[in-house]
């Protein structure tokens, strides 16, 4: 099993010189194929942690290794190249480019990486088919529902076949039905081998999808639990209806 992400005593101070740390001494290791959910209340540092792993921010102390590369040592340009080759990103508010079609949105990372247009188109088509977006490929994001937009974002994140998929509150802006669909996609992706790191405050999302839930509090790891998936669990093991008191 290869180590995908390794954080060693990582600290990140708040921008603006406050002595408080957003991430205060976090060490963790993520294996290839894992699905980790990072939970915690507002201000616990989970988004900052995600940004550090993605190379969108540099640690104040400590080392962040992604695919054995020290992310903190790369220049902006190198980071951009690193990101587009190895990391896929899904945001809470989709962050699609509103004046490009669905297909164009999906193709962007590939075009930026100068992937051959035919190869890029093939990958995009496969992704759209898999995500049920094929008929909508010429529409603008404004015409799509929230769930559809997030699916476009997923396709965009996957077009360069990233080693690591990062998701920041992916269901935060969706209704429960669309959110569940996203959950299912992510689970499916992980089942096929995609390494996923998910940041969320939604406990159900975290528990349902991830095999490992890390809880942050005040920038530190407060808990790191492994969850088992047991498809054979009987309902009565986990759910009992309580009979009411006898009627008067």
């Amino acid at each position: 099993m290869t180590v995908m992400v390794e954080l060693t005593d990582v600290r990140k101070l708040y921008n603006g010189g406050s002595p408080q740390a957003a991430v205060d001494g976090v060490s963790l290791t993520m294996q290839q194929g894992e699905f980790i959910a990072v939970m915690g209340p507002s201000g616990s540092g989970k988004s900052t942690l995600l940004n550090l792993i993605a190379g969108l921010d540099r640690p104040s102390e400590g080392r962040v290794l992604v695919d054995a590369v020290d992310v903190g040592s790369l220049s902006e340009t190198e980071l951009a190249r690193f990101r587009r080759a190895r990391i896929g990103f899904i945001f809470q508010f989709f962050n699609l480019l509103n004046n490009l079609t669905v297909l164009e949105n999906i193709l962007i990372p590939a075009q930026l990486a100068a992937v051959s247009p035919t190869v890029a188109l093939d990958r995009a088509t496969a992704l759209m088919n898999g995500l049920g977006l094929a008929e909508k490929q010429r529409l603008l994001p404004g015409r799509l529902s929230g769930g559809e937009r997030q699916r476009v974002a997923i396709a965009r994140a996957l077009i360069n076949q990233p080693l690591l998929l990062l998701a920041d509150e992916p269901t935060g802006a969706l209704d429960s039905h669309a959110g569940e669909q996203v959950m299912e996609r992510l689970t499916e992706l992980n089942r096929r081998g995609q390494t996923i790191l998910l940041v969320t405050h939604d406990a159900k999302l975290a528990a349902a999808c991830a095999g490992r839930v890390i809880t942050l509090s005040d920038g530190r790891v407060a808990d790191d639990s492994r969850l088992k998936a047991s498809p054979e669990v009987a309902p009565s093991d986990i759910l009992r209806l309580r009979p009411g008191e006898a009627a008067p």
């Binding site: 209340p41 299912e184 406990a203 159900k204 975290a206 528990a207 349902a208 839930v213 809880t215 509090s217 407060a222 808990d223 639990s225 969850l227 088992k228 998936a229 047991s230 498809p231 669990v233 009987a234 309902p235 009565s236 093991d237 986990i238 759910l239 009992r240 209806l241 309580r242 009979p243 009411g244 008191e245 006898a246 009627a247």
Partner: protein, 178 residues
């Protein structure tokens, strides 16, 4: 209470005898509630005494007595169906008591307890989520809704655990007194 009205509701569809009531009831609730046949029979008797159900005249095979709903029973059922639940919120007492006591006692490690409980809730959520999905896949949307209720309750419990932990974090001294 819900057993009484559950039986009334089942009998509203068609007359049933005791054993049928048990199986149907359990099936309705997707196996989440295993009812004692004796409990069914005693409830039926009480319902008959109150005039809400009545046994059918002819006896089926093996001497099983089918019951049916009386007019009064139907009215009572309708009345119950229309009313929202106004009972006070039921909380899990055991964990609450456990936490309170752990907070008081010198050897009580509240943080530890909370962390472990949290883990339990997370695993529970995972299992429940899987159950909900399987229910939908099998077409049992009503069961899925029930499971959804359980999920929400578990989420609430989890949030409560977090709130408790937050409280302790902010005022660690206060946990011991009171």
């Amino acid at each position: 209470m819900s057993l009484r009205f559950g039986i009334l509701g089942l009998l509203a569809e068609e007359p049933l005898h005791g054993y049928e009531v048990k199986t149907r009831f359990e099936s309705l609730l997707g196996g989440t509630w295993e009812v004692n046949i004796g409990q069914i029979y005693s409830t039926l008797q009480r319902l008959e005494r109150d005039g809400l159900v009545a046994p059918a005249d002819d006896r089926g095979d093996r001497g099983k007595l089918p019951y049916h709903l009386t007019a009064t029973g139907r009215r009572t059922l309708d009345g119950w169906l229309r009313q929202p639940e106004e009972e006070p919120q039921q909380l899990r007492e055991e964990i609450y008591v456990k936490l309170l006591l752990a907070g008081r006692l010198a050897n009580g490690n509240v943080e530890r307890l909370l962390a472990d409980q949290r883990r339990v809730y997370l695993q529970r959520l995972k299992d429940l989520a899987g159950l909900e999905r399987r229910s939908r896949d099998e077409g049992r949307d009503d069961l899925a809704l029930l499971v959804r209720g359980a999920v929400l309750h578990t989420e609430a419990d989890l949030k409560w655990t977090d709130a408790w932990a937050e409280e302790i974090r902010r005022a660690p001294k206060r946990g011991g007194r009171q």
